[in-house]
């Protein structure tokens, strides 16, 4: 490309020249020379600039975007992570053995990745979905049969959700097995438990959205438990005594009605698509931030010996 550009220059100039020479006389020749000269200068400059493009990382544009150079010096590597908005959750360096899969199982990271996938596919699904009775079911059929990749989208969202639940549970399992909840990470474990609950709620609220028998009865069974809430449910202990009826108890509040109906669908939709994702994202941010602040990944730490136990601090 650059070469071709270069050869184009004189040709164009020559064409110009011949045109003007027919119009003018002697003075025209000078003018032609000046133009040719100018064209040559432009050409050399163009060639240089194009050559410079071979090293894009040295351009100002690049620098403005990434802020750091990308060479293989340790400093650059560290800066590459630290100065990247997406990567700066990571430290610049980590425990050499934490890189291996054995210890971490990677479940936390993969959960986050699946969550992102779910947000992505979920957003696309929202384009095609109306949270109202009859229409909702039809929309699912529409997704399945009309929308390009709609079926794939829905499948990915569904299976991604299941995968996320499984991964979250395994993540918790690993964290427990490695005792990673111990000081100083106690609170992050609590955050993790909250995230687990949120994950389950996300999945559960999404279950109703196709408005088919499966979701309808799953949600009915699920929310029927709420009617037995002690004190607050009309079937729960002391619920009756406190004046709970199907029309004012906690289940009514969850469903927006005494049965799973249009209102429940709308509520599930809003919880599923707006409220819980926002809450979950917030907790995720806290969770990740705490991972960093609590000293990065917990291990693999050197084993401690029984003999090395220190006496607890006495209050």
């Amino acid at each position: 490309m650059p070469e071709k550009n270069g050869t184009d220059g004189p040709n164009g100039a020559a064409g110009n020249g011949s045109d003007s020479s027919s119009a003018g006389g002697n003075g025209a020749k000078k003018r032609v020379a000046v133009i040719v000269e100018g064209a040559k200068a432009v050409r050399t400059q163009a060639t240089q600039e194009i050559k410079a493009l071979k090293h894009p990382e040295k351009t100002d544009l690049w620098k403005s975007m990434l802020r750091v150079k990308h060479d293989e010096t340790p400093r650059s590597r560290a800066l590459g992570v630290l100065s990247n908005v997406f990567l700066h959750l990571h430290p610049a360096k980590i425990n050499r053995d934490a890189v291996a899969y054995r210890y971490t199982w990677g479940m936390g990271g993969m959960t986050f990745y699946v969550y992102i996938t779910l947000v992505f596919t979920g957003t696309l699904l929202m384009f095609y979905y109306h949270p109202s009775k009859i229409v909702a079911f039809r929309d699912i059929l529409y997704l399945e049969h009309d929308v390009p990749f709609g079926k794939l989208l829905r499948n990915m969202h569904r299976w991604g959700a299941h995968l996320m639940v499984i991964m979250v549970e395994l993540h918790m399992f690993r964290v427990f097995l490695t005792g990673s909840y111990k000081s100083p990470r106690q609170f992050n474990w609590v955050v993790g438990v909250i995230l687990l609950v949120l994950t389950l709620l996300l999945s559960f609220t999404g279950y109703l959205l196709p408005d088919d028998q499966l979701g309808f009865w799953a949600v009915t069974v699920g929310t029927n438990m709420a009617r037995a809430t002690p004190l607050l449910g009309h079937d729960g202990p002391f619920g009756r005594q406190l004046g709970m009826t199907p029309f004012n108890d906690v289940r009514f509040g969850l469903l927006g009605g005494s049965i799973v109906d249009a209102n429940a669908l709308l509520r599930a939709y809003i919880w599923h698509c707006v409220a819980i994702p926002i809450i979950a994202s917030t907790f995720m941010v806290v969770h990740f931030w705490r991972v960093r602040k609590d000293g990065g990944i917990s291990g693999p730490a050197p084993v401690m010996l029984e003999s090395e136990i220190k006496e607890p601090r006495k209050f």
Partner: protein, 1035 residues
Amino acid sequence: MSDQDQDKDPVVHSSLSRPLFIWSALLLLSLGWALYDEVYGIRPWKSYQSHFSKVYSRYLRSVRPNESTFEKQIQASPEYQKLDRDAEAARKTVAAQVEARDREVKQVLVPQTLALNDPFQEVRSHIGSLTYQIETTNSQSSKESMRREIEQIKKEIHTVKLPMPDGTTKKVDYDYARMDRDLLAWKNRKAQLLQEIVDLQKPYTELLAARDKYLSDRVADVSSGMLAGLLNKMDDFDIGVRQIHIKDVDLVDRCESCHLGTREPVTLTKAAMGGEEVFVSHPNKELLKIHDPEKFGCTPCHGGNGVAVDSIEKAHGSNEHWLWPLHSRENFEAGCQQCHVKEIVTEMAPALNAGRELFRLRGCMGCHRYEGFDREPEEMISVNQQIRQLENQKAEWDREIGFTSDKADRTRDNAEAQRLYQHANDLKVRISGLDAKIEQADMRASNLIREVKKVGPSLKEVRMKMHKEWIPVWLQDPHKWRPGTKMPTFRLDQDDIQAIAAFIWQSGVTGNLPTSSPGDPVKGKESFETRGCMACHSMGEGNDKEGGTFAANLSRVGEKDNYDYLVRWIHNPRERTLPYCPFEKRDLTEADYKKKGVPFVFDMDHSKCPNDGHELQVEQMTPMPSLRLTVEEARDIASYLLTQKHFDATYPAADYLDDPKLKTHGAFLVRYYGCAGCHEISGLEEEQRTGTELTKEGSKPIERLDFALLGHGAEREGWYNHKGFFEHKLQDPAVYDRGKEKPNKLDRLKMPNFNLSKPEIDEVATFLLGSVDSALPERYYFEPTDQRQDVIEGWWVIRKYNCMGCHQVHVGQTTVFMTLPRYQDPDWKDQRPPSLIGEGARVNPAWLMRFLANPALSETDTNRDGVRQYLKARMPTFYFSASEIQKLVRFFAASSSQSMPYIDPKMEAISDQERTMARQLFSSEGAPCLKCHATGDAKHDQRATAPNFLLSKERLKPGWTERWMVHPEMMQPGTAMPSGLFRREGDRWVFAGPTPPSFQNYPRDHADLLVRYMFQFTPEELNRLRASAGAGAGR
């Protein structure tokens, strides 16, 4: 591994590029897979479409030569050639003129207009914008200045280069006004010229159209031009989803993405499409015309999932969880039922109609409620309720009148008093309106009592009718005794049978029957076979069975019935032994009448209860009509019927029928098995139905259909669906008891076995499968508010009384008479009862009403047919209720598109001279009218095969009469009335045979003359005609 390698840090020095590459490759592969799946995997219709376009073009190419050679033959025919030449000649004669006008338009007007248009538009828009400013500015002075400016612009001269016809241009100076004028003038001129061209070419285009019509009239299916068009279409066949989208219902049907041949103009068969059934045309184009797929879609009728195109299974909705699967072949017509739910007869749905008829005739409706079927009892309740409500309203208003008048009397204000009096008066008038309403409802109630019919015979009369011993044998297995009978086989054991028989026997009424002397069985046989009995009844067993299936087979009737009862029954089947009072809920006896001192007479005219004045049931609840036979003839037929028996049949003695101990249990069983659904039984007149309602059975969730222990087997064998459930249940109603432990007999399924054949099962299943809670919006339902509603209503009556056993009521229908061997004979063919197609157009509804009420058309001379006395088969008296007659008359009017009420058209009076002419023609040898038509002369009428002209005036409609005389073969192909009696001469019909001399110089229409003659026919004229015919014969 060397030491150095070991020293290397595996974390830092290992390379991940290989797994990264492999996994990325796999990921890309999966993306490719997803893409493939999206483009082909879940789009199987694409390969169908490319296959279709191949097969279809191949087929089109194979038929095209045939069509085109055929067309060439036609094009070579002299007629076509002549038309072609004429057209060409017509074109040539005007060619020069057309050309001149065309040239002026193209070479002068259009270019000149174009040249002038731009400057004109420029000026105009300038003026327009200035005008706007004038309108919007407030300053008077600037308005003035702008007006001046406009004037100036209008005056400005524009030089325009106008192209001239000779190719040169001419500069012309224009101001605005002139431009405007010229442009308008040119525009008008152009329009005028174009119109002239059209007018000039008119003969040519007409001839061309005539020529093309000549061709298209002679090419049966599609022309080769059309074939070529279709082929072209196939050449740029584009592969894409074909869908019907009906917005307001949000219906999307993509069936045609694979079923591409459905609506092709060429009829495509499986063989034509290379054995691919998926591409065949819709088998009933007529049906598609009524139900345009663009408006109705496919799935509303056929079922299936119209949106799905990703697999055959899903598209046909046969996947699990899809509620509306495709109807299978034998149940296609189920789709009709969901919208045509109000009908008993739906055109073009023979299987569905048969299913409905079975449901009715076999007495399914006796146990299962189905909206619309056997509706009279329900209607009776609602009418009575309505009457009560009206009475209450009346009483209330009555009270209010009193209060209001009182209040008015007492009020001080005159105006207020006047208002109150007015109000009271208004109420009085409104009460009188209520009275009329109540009267109507009362009439309806008494009509309804007549309209209630039972599927089976009344069991109140068994003691008088039956041989006692026969009853248990019958109950044991009715189908064994009389194969194909309506009475189903119940799951009874010997004890049950004895108890039921005993109850039935003991609850029967007794009465005095006149003893009849024996008749002549030979004559009886003749009467039975010719009077019309066989339109409903069949005779003979096995393959010898002949006659209708509407009523019982009578081959063994001699084994069970009493002679005297049979005589009474045949003479008038509606005759009851005792009247039934629905209010007292019992049969009245002679004692009841005696107590009140009233004679023991009950019939249509004496139908009030002597005790309480309520309407009585005075008739047998049978649809069987009275043939108005003489008692002698009834005896003959009864004697004949009693000869119909197996002479070796023996019946064990059944004395237990009189055992009073069995009665209670019997009554329980009779009630339990719902016998009263089909039979009239003493004490059980008001029984409710025992079965489930079936109106929406087809859409009952599958989980609610009790497959019992067969559910899992059904799932494995693939019949775990509604169709499978119905079919198995109908095949063997006890099937779902299989394997169940039910020691108590009464826990068992009680539905009896109807022994339906496979086609019958399919028909009933079709009906039930279509009985769904439709998701379609209201407007899809066939609930017309116009005359078609009358047709729907009428069919119920027609089916109820089996009119179609004797008459053809709709096109293409076969009557029972048409199947009887005797009526195949050329002589007997004319003895078939008349076809009623077009009856509404033929007869005067007022007459029809009278005829239906009294087919003898006489109160005294009842042993005859009112119209066709020459027919052996006789139109019976059905004792229709008033509303049934109304429905029938409206039905015939509506099915012939006749408006109601009918107003006699005014007819030109016939002059004496014309009357003489007509009489001469009627009696001439050339006109055969009187040979066949009855004249009232006994001797002549013996041979008559057509009705008397005296009836015409009252009975017929003149328009129809004329059409009939001229073209009888169009109305009834094969009728005894000969065609070709008239020929067309100019714009009138002329008698085809020799006419009497008086007809010379008669300039008017002969057919019209005869119609007027017939419609102004009098008995005196008939005598004159007879005399002159006799005289003519003497000549």
